[in-house]
């Protein structure tokens, strides 16, 4: 991969630049010397065991939920939801 993705592209934020304040925080991490460099996640185990997974079922949204999702849609025309313009090339 020779193509470099800058943070403004990665973040979808125009003209975004790394911040000096935030870089100072990252420098502390760069200079830190952990006793173990491999995050084994030995302590904070939040994963769910396979036996404990919830049922994979489709839950129908309520009528009010569907209505609010439609209301939240940013653009409507003649009863249709309008997506953003897609022009490739």
């Amino acid at each position: 991969m020779s193509k470099t993705m800058t943070v403004d592209i990665l973040s979808s934020i125009k003209g975004a630049q790394p911040s000096e304040s935030v870089n100072q925080l990252f420098d502390v991490i760069k200079n830190a010397i952990p006793t173990n460099n491999n995050a084994a996640n030995n302590v904070n185990r939040n994963c769910v065991s396979v036996n404990n997974l919830r049922e994979d079922v489709v839950i129908e949204s309520s009528a009010i939920e569907k209505q609010i999702i439609l209301e939240n849609f940013p653009n409507k025309k003649n009863g249709f939801l309008v997506v953003a313009k897609v022009i490739e090339g």
Partner: protein, 465 residues
């Protein structure tokens, strides 16, 4: 202070007050308030629910302890049909399609939601100034910040506009504003309360928790909201905490982090007040141990590295496609970029960019993965400490609340002001702010899942210092 919930419950049951009058009084106070603590009022819903409670009482029916109790909700929670703005431009017209589990449990218990409360946008801040609704003013001195990110919630409780409020705590966002406004604020063990319906900031430390004026009210609300939820697979099963169980303390040994107190950054008064509190605790026959801990800059940097990485991922969905304030541009990619550039605040953008920096190729090993390794070490350190002591006591903040306007000028200073709260978030530990001991309170922390012990020690402290 004694339980406000129990007091109001008695007044309702004995018909000294009606629920409608109570709710109307609180709504009026919220409406007229000048602290910028309100994003939207839920007046129609609240009055409708209050009338139902009054009808029940008039019919001679029994009501539950939380039935008719007015409360506030930080504006990052879903409550079906109400605005959920995250205090952001992007979601200023967004309506919750569903209700968060924690909030639903309170509704099921009969509590009445009054208000969606002002906060830092998406939880990004420690002062409640990063908001489109105006900086929240401190309840004690309105020239100072309320703290954050749950600043509106803390002020509403402190001013008694709400009986309790539900905040969110990722790195101190309940505990610090509680300290700044002299009330109780509890961040439970990670997973004790379902995060379903809480807008995600940093999912591995996000916690739902109550702010209130008494330990008893914290206990009551915590019990109602706790429990495993299939909609949040990181949620855990927990036992109810009874009033009797926390009435007397069995704590024999506590500890505090030496380097927190010996730091150059700590305010001289906070330091001497903290040490005076330690002496009072010793005088009660409790052994106090000085503990070694990571330097504050390591804690803050580890927390912000991981929190920024997580928020960059969590907020990537906010692109104006299905919801939010979409700004159309010449093509889809431009539409995403313009929508996000125009609608996110400077602080939110700073965190998203920081997160993408540490997650990008070349940086992730050197920063993000190292941050994860440091977090492991921090957690291991806590595990060792809790073999030595029952409780860890800390100040909430190194300094007193800054003036409104100062934090936004110096983001690094704001990040460093979280030095005493972020470590416990990384460790996923239960931690309560009590309005005692220093001018911004004290934090009581116990081992994971020992939430009961935290409340027990808080009761002991209430009578000790």
């Amino acid at each position: 202070m004694d339980s406000q919930i129990k007091k109001i419950h008695q007044q309702l049951v004995s018909k000294q007050i009606t629920c409608t009058a109570l709710v109307q009084e609180k709504l009026d106070l919220l409406k007229q308030n000048t602290y910028n603590s309100v994003n939207s009022l839920l007046d129609a819903l609240a009055l409708e629910l209050a009338a139902k409670v009054d009808a029940k009482i008039a019919n001679g029916e029994e009501i539950g302890l939380l039935e008719g109790i007015p409360f506030g909700i930080k504006d990052v929670y879903m409550l079906q049909g109400t605005y959920a703005t995250a205090s952001s431009e992007l979601l200023k017209n967004y309506k919750s399609p569903y209700t968060a589990t924690a909030i639903q449990k309170l509704l099921d218990a009969g509590a009445i939601p009054l208000v969606k409360e002002n906060c830092d946008s998406f939880g990004h801040g420690s002062s409640s100034e990063n908001t489109i609704f105006g900086a929240v003013k401190n309840a004690i001195d309105p020239t100072l910040v309320a703290g954050g990110s749950s600043g509106g919630s803390a002020v509403n409780v402190a001013k008694e506009y709400t009986v309790f409020s539900i905040g969110g705590d990722t790195g101190g966002s309940i505990r610090q504003p509680a300290g700044y406004n002299h009330i109780y604020g509890f961040k439970p063990t990670y997973g004790r309360i379902s995060r379903y319906g809480l807008m995600a900031y940093a999912s591995s430390t996000d916690c739902v928790g109550p702010l209130a004026k008494s330990i008893e009210d914290i206990r009551i609300v915590l019990n109602v909201m706790s429990g495993k939820d299939p909609k949040d697979q990181t949620s855990i099963t927990s036992n109810e905490i009874s009033e009797d169980a926390i009435a007397t303390s069995s704590v024999k040994t506590i500890g505090y982090f030496k380097n927190f107190i010996e730091s150059d950054a700590i305010d001289a008064q906070i330091k001497s007040d903290f040490l005076a509190s330690i002496e009072k605790i010793k005088a009660k026959g409790i052994e106090v141990k000085e503990l070694d801990f990571f330097k504050s800059d390591i804690l803050v940097s580890t927390y912000y590295t991981l929190a920024m990485a997580e928020t960059a991922s969590n907020l990537s969905r906010l692109d104006g496609t299905n919801y939010g304030n979409r700004i159309e541009a010449e093509n889809l990619i431009e539409t995403y970029a313009v929508t996000r550039s125009e609608n996110f605040s400077e602080e939110t953008k700073r965190r998203i960019v920081g997160g993408n920096q540490v997650l990008s190729q070349g940086f992730s090993d050197e920063i993000y993965l190292k941050g994860l390794a440091l977090r492991d070490q921090i957690s291991e350190n806590f595990s060792k400490d809790f073999q030595e002591v029952d409780i860890i006591l800390s100040p909430v903040t190194p300094s007193t609340p800054p003036k409104i306007g100062d934090s936004l000028k110096d983001p690094l200073a704001m990040y460093l002001s979280d030095a005493y709260t972020v470590g416990f978030s990384l460790g996923q530990l239960p931690t309560l702010t009590v309005p005692q001991g220093t001018s911004t309170g004290l934090q009581i922390t116990a081992a994971k899942n020992s939430d009961e012990l935290v409340l027990k020690f808080a009761n002991f402290l209430k009578d000790t210092i």
